[in-house]
Structures are given as structure tokens and as C-alpha cells.
């Protein structure tokens, strides 16, 4: 593999990996993660309950 190949591979793979880790970290640490797994057993929900989950 040439130097250009290494640069291309590391930039491409590195970019998508860093972006993926950054996004997942933000999702897991964000306020939206608090409701995680709470109601996986409940379905269907009453329409007027969906906002209070």
C-alpha cells in the first residue's frame, strides 16, 4: 500500500469511526437517554399517554 493509500484509508476510516463514537457518546449522555428501556414492555400505548412516558 502506498503512502497515499494509508492516508486515504486512515482519514476515511478515522472520520467515520470518530463521528460514530462522538454521536453515540452524545446520545448516551444526553437528556434523551433517561427514558431508556422504561417501557419496552408496554405496547400499544394509549395515545394520550405517549407524551408522559
Amino acid at each position: 500500500m502506498t503512502l497515499g493509500g494509508w492516508i486515504n484509508m486512515l482519514l476515511s476510516v478515522g472520520f467515520v469511526t470518530v463521528l460514530f463514537i462522538y454521536c453515540v457518546t452524545r446520545v448516551l449522555r444526553g437528556p434523551g437517554s433517561r427514558a431508556e428501556h422504561e417501557l419496552a414492555h408496554v405496547e400499544p400505548l394509549d395515545e394520550d399517554e405517549t407524551e408522559t412516558r
Binding site: M1, G5, S12, V16, C23, V27, H37, E43, P44, T50
Partner: protein, 570 residues
């Protein structure tokens, strides 16, 4: 009495479901094949530009429109367009959002059955026999030899696996959004990434398996895919690429004859090739599942103030990680190490996955185990995608015809079973599958994505769309994307679509000075001198399905209009 409503049970669940929908066979087979074909460097530049100009903008668009529709009680593309545009014709624009996923499911589930069948056959040792003709095995397994021969149910036939896959899909879809799709994706996506990493480690530690062929090593395999510039050695007799070297000076004497020509894959020259841009944009487009009608439906089950910006970007990044970070390092390098350039060149997605890779695994120590693991990986990738294709249809039938989930699952089950039987029976040369994939899985998909982005940028209005997208958002979309979504994405999409039609329908030779048009097989199969019966039947089937969908939309429209009138009266 309150109406019942399905919903995601967690935010991570919907992200994994969207990512699962996007990650499919294309990530591990189509992407690396294209990157290698067009020379890694140039392809990746076009690929990432397309990601920024098409993939991420349409993704945000779909998530936003979906959540907007969900707030108004709509989950199908037709219903969402009806709620958004409030015009009698708007609901008909969304008909493709029903037709595309339902028809794609009909043939995708057939391919999914191949993956499961190959995994089982690999495990029992049928796929690790050195010297076996895997092209012949593939032809017999899929029924490519003639129509009707695939309707068999032995271990080395596809039939048994079609039945299993079908029942599995409908079992999970019947369980609903959170207890079906979400639970599958919560387990399947981490498992998929874990399996891909195991296979990646195996590939990267292959070294030089055959000392008599020192050039066929992992480094050169990676270089074949990622080197930005290279010289391809082309056979004059066959026109096919037979070898590739980083520069002309490295080409050995055996190729310095009149039997070979050299094709320089220079970075700048490659970027001037419109086919490369078409391939890169197409890969982004199909890989991310944008325009399918899936994301818009999935997002409609979000709560009204759930974030869509970060969630959309996370699902996109998960797909990109699987595609570039894992898929880009596994398939082509593995094939190169054992089979060299000649084993890879000219292979399409199916050829690489179901013909070349079994040969590779047959030459690898403990190959049957890694083959089984790899095809399980493909199967998981496929099942999370096929499940997603059913939900838009379920949602549409439920809200349009006013029927419950049990009835809509049954109705959709019958409709898709007819289509899958059609593809399964007309298996000769995979003509029915290929025809559906072209006209529905490609052409209609482009049309649907263009409609979506134009409705967001122009129908809803970019400022209003921006405001809706940022309600509850955990990150801001750079304002630059206002211009991108309103002008650049539709233009880019239309340009790519135009190029696609010129190449794949009208057969343009890409010459402006001496343009020639030779309509492709997809056109000649329908209106040429010797039309293909199966291709015509397939297109007829697509037209009938679309006709049914239009009738359903019409019926649904009446229900929705009554509902609107009642809301106004209240």
C-alpha cells in the same frame, strides 16, 4: 375511547432501528467493490461529498417530516404529505412511499434467504470445499438456471430458507414497533458490529497465505482498495482488468506486451469521470435507505419533542462506520489475498458475496466457521433491513383503511407473499428480481427522495422546516445546510438521476462530441425487438401494485378528509 398508538420505547431503540434499516448487504459487498473499481482515493472524495450533499440532508429531512406527521397522527408517507401540504393531490405524492418498501421487500427477502441458506450450508461444510464451482452452486441454489427450479426445499435449495425468513419477519413485525423491530435491532446491531470486528481481525491477520504468491498479501489487498492512484492492466482480448500496480514502473515484464493495455487511475482524471460520481452518489443514496419511506415512518413514532437532528446523524454515522470502517476493510482485501485481482474484477454485489467469498473461505484455515459467521453477518444485516421495509406498508394500511395491526399484517403478508412467489418462481437469470430492483429499487427511489427534499425545502418552507427540525434538538444543524437542502441537494439529486437515466436507460456513451444512445437491456426487455416475457410480467406486476396503492390512497384520503372536517368542527 382513546385510540391506541404505537411508539418507540427508547431513543437508542429508534436510532438502532434506523441504522439497522440502512446497514445491509451493500455495506459489506457493494461499497468495497465500487471503491476498488474506481480507485479508492477519488471514489472516497466523491463518496464523502455525496454524504454531505445528499445523505445527511435527506436523512434530516425525513426524520423531521416523519416526526411532524406523527404529531398529527400520521405514519405513512401519504398521510404525512396530506397533513403537511393540505392539498387533495398531496397524498398521491406519497404513494411511492408505500410501493417502494413493499416491492423491495418482495425480492429482498429472497436474497435474505440466500444469506441464511449460505450460513447453514457453510456450517455443515458444504461451502468449504476447495476447487468447488461456487458459481454453479449459486446458480442451483437461487434457481438462476431456469424458471421454477428454485421451488425446492432441501438443504442446498433456497425454498426452506425463504419460508423460515418469511415467518421470522412477520413474527417480529406482528409484535409491533417496540416489542418487535426495536428489540430485534437492539440485539442485532451490536451483534452485527461484533461479528464484523471478529471477521475484520481475521482478515487483517491473514498475512501472505500462499508464499508462492508474495504479492497477494494483506497490505496489497488494502492497497488495491485504498490507493488513490494506480495503473490497471487490462486484457485486450477480454477487456477485463487482470492486475493493478501503484505505478507504471512496477508493472512486470509479463504484462509489457501487445496483449495488454494500461489504464491509469489518476486521482484528478478519475474525479472527472461522471460515472464515478454516479456510483458514489448512488452508493450513499441506497446505503442510507433515504427515500425508502422507512425513516419517515420510523420517525413518526417519536414523541413530539424527541430530538431528530442528533438521532438522524447518529443513525447515519452508524451506517457509515459499518460501511467504510468495517465493510471497506473486509471483503475486497480478503478476496485479493487468496484470489488476486482477477478474482475480484467484474464481480457485482452478488458475485462478490456468494461466489468469490465462498472460494476465499474454502482456502482459509477454519474457513467453514468464518464463512458461517460471515453469512450470519449478512443475514443479520438483511433482516434488520427487511423488517423496516414492512412497517411503512403496515402503517399505511392501518391508518388508510382503518384496520387494526393484526389485519394489516395479514393483508400485507398476502400481498408480499404473492410478490415473493413471483420472484422465487421466475428465477431464471434472476430476471424478475433484477427488473424489480431496477425500476422500483432504483428509479422510484430517486423519484421519492427528490419529492421528499423538495417538499421539505419548498413545500414546508426551509425556515419552517428548520424550526420544526430544531424543536427538542440536542445539536444544531449548521445554517449552511439551509442553502444545501433548498438548492444544492435537489439539484445534485436531479443531476445524478438524469445521469443515471442517460446511462442505465438510454445507454449514453458519455461523449458530448459524438453522443450515442443504445437503450439498455432494461428498456429492450420491455419494448425492444425481442422483449423478455418475465421482464414485461414484472413491470406489469409493478404497475398493478401501484394501481392498488393509488386506490388505497384514494380511500384513505376520504377517511382523512372526514377526520379533518371533524377536527375543524370541534
Amino acid at each position: 375511547m382513546t385510540a391506541t398508538k404505537e411508539a418507540w420505547s427508547s431513543r437508542l431503540g429508534v436510532i438502532l432501528a434506523v441504522a439497522g434499516s440502512a446497514v445491509g448487504l451493500g455495506n459489506f459487498l457493494r461499497f468495497p467493490g465500487l471503491a476498488a473499481q474506481y480507485g479508492g482515493g477519488a471514489f472516497m472524495i466523491a463518496y464523502f461529498i455525496s454524504l454531505l450533499l445528499i445523505g445527511i440532508p435527506i436523512c434530516w429531512t425525513e426524520w423531521t417530516l416523519g416526526r411532524f406527521g406523527g404529531r398529527h397522527g400520521y405514519h405513512s408517507t401519504s398521510g404525512i404529505f396530506h397533513a403537511l401540504l393540505k392539498k387533495p393531490w398531496a397524498k398521491y405524492l406519497g404513494v411511492i412511499g408505500f410501493v417502494v418498501p413493499v416491492i423491495i421487500y418482495m425480492y429482498y427477502v429472497y436474497i435474505e434467504a440466500w444469506a441464511l441458506g449460505y450460513a447453514v450450508n457453510a456450517l455443515v461444510g458444504n461451502l468449504s470445499i476447495e476447487g468447488k464451482d461456487y458459481g454453479e452452486f449459486f446458480g442451483a441454489f437461487t434457481g438462476a438456471a431456469s424458471d421454477g427450479v428454485a421451488l425446492k426445499f432441501g438443504l442446498q435449495d433456497v425454498g426452506l430458507f425463504v419460508i423460515i425468513v418469511y415467518l421470522l419477519n412477520f413474527f417480529f413485525i406482528y409484535r409491533g414497533i417496540s416489542r418487535g423491530i426495536e428489540i430485534v435491532c437492539k440485539f442485532a446491531m451490536p451483534a452485527l458490529i461484533g461479528i464484523a470486528i471478529i471477521i475484520l481481525l481475521r482478515v487483517l491477520t491473514l498475512g501472505t497465505p500462499d508464499p508462492s504468491k508474495p504479492d497477494q498479501n494483506v497490505m496489497n489487498g488494502l492497497g488495491y482498495l485504498w490507493n488513490p492512484g494506480a495503473v490497471a492492466v487490462m486484457s485486450v482480448e477480454t477487456g477485463a482488468e487482470v492486475a493493478r500496480y501503484p505505478d507504471a514502473a512496477g508493472i512486470p515484464a509479463e504484462y509489457q506486451t501487445e496483449a495488454y493495455t494500461f489504464n491509469e487511475l489518476d486521482l484528478i482524471r478519475s474525479l472527472m469521470n461522471p460515472q464515478l460520481w454516479l456510483a458514489a452518489a448512488g452508493q450513499i443514496f441506497f446505503s442510507l435507505s433515504v427515500g425508502f419511506g422507512v425513516i419517515i415512518t420510523y420517525a413518526s413514532y417519536l414523541r413530539s419533542r424527541d430530538d431528530v437532528v442528533l438521532s438522524g446523524l447518529t443513525a447515519t454515522s452508524a451506517n457509515e462506520f459499518c460501511e467504510v470502517g468495517l465493510g471497506g476493510l473486509i471483503t475486497v482485501p480478503a478476496a485479493f489475498v487468496f484470489l488476486g485481482t482477477a478474482g475480484i474484477v467484474g464481480q457485482g454485489t452478488f458475485g462478490l458475496g456468494f461466489n468469490v467469498l465462498p472460494q476465499v473461505f474454502a482456502l482459509m484455515p477454519a474457513g467453514h466457521l468464518f464463512a458461517a459467521i460471515f453469512f450470519v453477518l449478512l443475514f443479520i444485516a438483511a433482516v434488520t433491513s427487511s423488517l423496516s421495509m414492512l412497517q411503512p406498508g403496515i402503517a399505511f394500511l392501518e391508518e388508510g383503511l382503518g384496520i387494526e395491526r393484526k389485519a394489516s399484517v395479514a393483508l400485507l403478508g398476502v400481498m408480499t407473499a404473492i410478490g415473493t412467489l413471483f420472484v422465487w418462481y421466475f428465477s431464471a437469470n434472476l430476471k424478475a428480481l433484477d427488473t424489480m430492483d431496477f425500476w422500483v429499487g432504483t428509479v422510484m427511489l430517486f423519484v421519492q427522495a427528490t419529492i421528499l427534499v423538495i417538499i421539505f425545502g419548498w413545500g414546508l418552507g426551509i425556515e419552517r422546516g428548520w424550526q420544526i427540525a430544531h424543536e427538542g434538538a440536542e445539536m444544531r444543524i449548521p445554517d449552511l445546510f439551509k442553502v444545501v437542502i433548498k438548492y444544492i441537494t435537489p439539484l445534485y439529486l436531479l443531476t445524478i438521476f438524469g445521469l443515471f437515466l442517460l446511462q442505465n436507460v438510454f445507454g449514453w456513451n458519455y461523449s458530448l462530441s459524438d453522443p450515442q444512445f443504445n437503450p439498455t437491456g432494461y428498456v429492450n426487455d420491455l419494448v425492444g425487438d425481442s422483449p423478455d416475457k418475465v421482464a414485461r410480467l414484472t413491470v406489469g406486476f409493478i404497475i398493478i401494485m401501484t394501481g392498488f396503492a393509488l386506490v388505497f390512497v384514494n380511500i384513505a384520503g376520504k377517511t382523512w378528509s372526514r377526520r379533518d372536517a371533524a377536527e375543524i368542527a370541534d
